[in-house]
């Protein structure tokens, strides 16, 4: 347990210093823990609904990662963000709970062979971004393109792509906020 805490701290420290690989490992380590947390609380949302919330929390962690104090342990910080966002997400979705059950039939009957980490909200939000931001997020996320590839394709500098990606992710959080409320 203690080793794991140090591990997360080291990964996030490296990540905040710009180490992309350490950051990927950090997020990959965090995702299943968040998934467990969300599913324990909101089984009624179904797997895809839970994954929406997980992705929402991951986006919040990403955008607020500079609020972590490197001298403080990671977990209390991480769980605080998760708790805040999970409560927020369930509260927002709770308001829609008066929908007839038929609307959930499809979700409840989701076939077991579909990817359990597939969620729909984030893709919808990405579709609401402006064209260029959408392309950048899609290329890098879904197609796994590198910064330089995207830069070449859009005829922009890598620095500009970097800034555009950051803005796009911030806008995603704003869109999400508006969308679920």
């Amino acid at each position: 347990m203690a080793a794991q805490i140090d591990d997360w701290g080291q990964l996030l420290t490296a990540a905040n210093a710009g180490d992309e690989q350490a950051y990927t490992r950090f997020l990959q380590a965090v995702a299943p823990v968040l998934r467990g947390l969300v599913r324990a609380r909101g089984a009624s949302l179904g797997a895809a609904g839970c994954e929406d919330v997980v992705q929402e929390v991951m986006l919040a962690i990403h955008l607020k990662r500079h609020t972590w104090d490197q001298t403080a342990p990671v977990r209390p910080w991480l769980y605080a963000i998760a708790r805040y966002k999970v409560v927020d997400a369930f509260r927002a979705r709770g308001r829609k709970n008066d929908l007839p059950i038929e609307d959930f039939a499809e979700m409840l009957a989701a076939s077991p062979d579909r990817d359990p980490t597939e969620a729909t909200d984030m893709a919808k939000m990405i579709g609401m971004l402006d064209g260029r931001s959408e392309t950048i997020v899609r290329k890098i996320g879904l197609e796994g393109a590198s910064m330089s590839e995207v830069a070449a394709e859009l005829r922009m500098s890598e620095g500009a792509i970097r800034v555009a990606l950051h803005r796009a992710l911030e806008n995603l959080a704003v869109l999400r906020e508006r969308h679920i409320k």
Partner: protein, 211 residues
């Protein structure tokens, strides 16, 4: 979109953001300089500003307001972190409040009875009650701007502490004009102005510090 795709997009975003405290000081310092300049243009400094540095009774107000501002900024920076509300320590605020009350009692005891009323009422109550909240606008605004990049889970409390910090700093700025040297005046009326700004800031925080 599955979560691994999202992770790829997030990890590619390596834009580093400044720390909260760096960001806060970056805007707070210019805000205070502007507030000081605005005070100087609108009211001017007290003519004997250089001489009062030997007058303990008058100097205590800087001691109190600057300490309150620094303590509150520290607390606001903790509260702006997601886990802040569980690790924050609010007792330093009580210490400052205690020191202010102590000063008030000391002044009450040492002021001759016939001078008490004059000392409390002074000549500039309304200037004080208008100027301190007005001078607070810039520093409080700067602190809010920085705190919006934070991630507080207690928006109203964080807003209140920001109001405390900004208005205490504004009071320290105002003290360069204020000619009332009795703690009976400045502890009473500065506090009232600071409490007013704090309450408004709590309401503002509740609205704008959500994320």
């Amino acid at each position: 979109m599955n979560t691994d795709d999202l992770i790829r997009a997030l990890a590619a975003d390596t834009e580093a953001e400044a720390s909260l405290s760096g960001r806060m000081w970056l805007v707070l310092v210019p805000a205070l300089i502007l507030a000081l300049a605005a005070l100087w243009l609108a009211l001017g400094f007290r003519p004997d500003l250089a001489e009062i540095f030997g007058n303990a009774r008058a100097l205590i107000r800087w001691g109190l307001t600057i300490t309150l501002a620094l303590v509150s900024i520290r607390i606001a920076l903790v509260l702006a972190r997601p886990e802040g509300r569980s690790v924050v320590r609010l007792w330093p605020l009580a210490v400052v409040a205690g020191a202010a009350i102590g000063t008030l009692i000391w002044a009450y005891v040492t002021t001759p009875a016939e001078g008490l009323q004059m000392a409390v009422v002074g000549k500039t109550i309304w200037t004080c009650l208008v100027a301190i909240p007005t001078l607070s606008v810039l520093p409080v605004g700067a602190l809010f701007w920085a705190a919006r990049r934070g991630a507080t889970r207690v928006p109203a409390l964080t807003g209140a502490v920001i109001g405390l910090a900004g208005s205490a700093a504004a009071a320290a700025v105002y003290a360069t004009y204020c000619i009332e040297d009795s703690p009976l005046f400045y502890v009473t009326w500065y506090s009232l102005a600071i409490i007013g700004v704090t309450l408004v800031s709590a309401a503002v925080g509740q609205r704008i510090l959500r994320w």
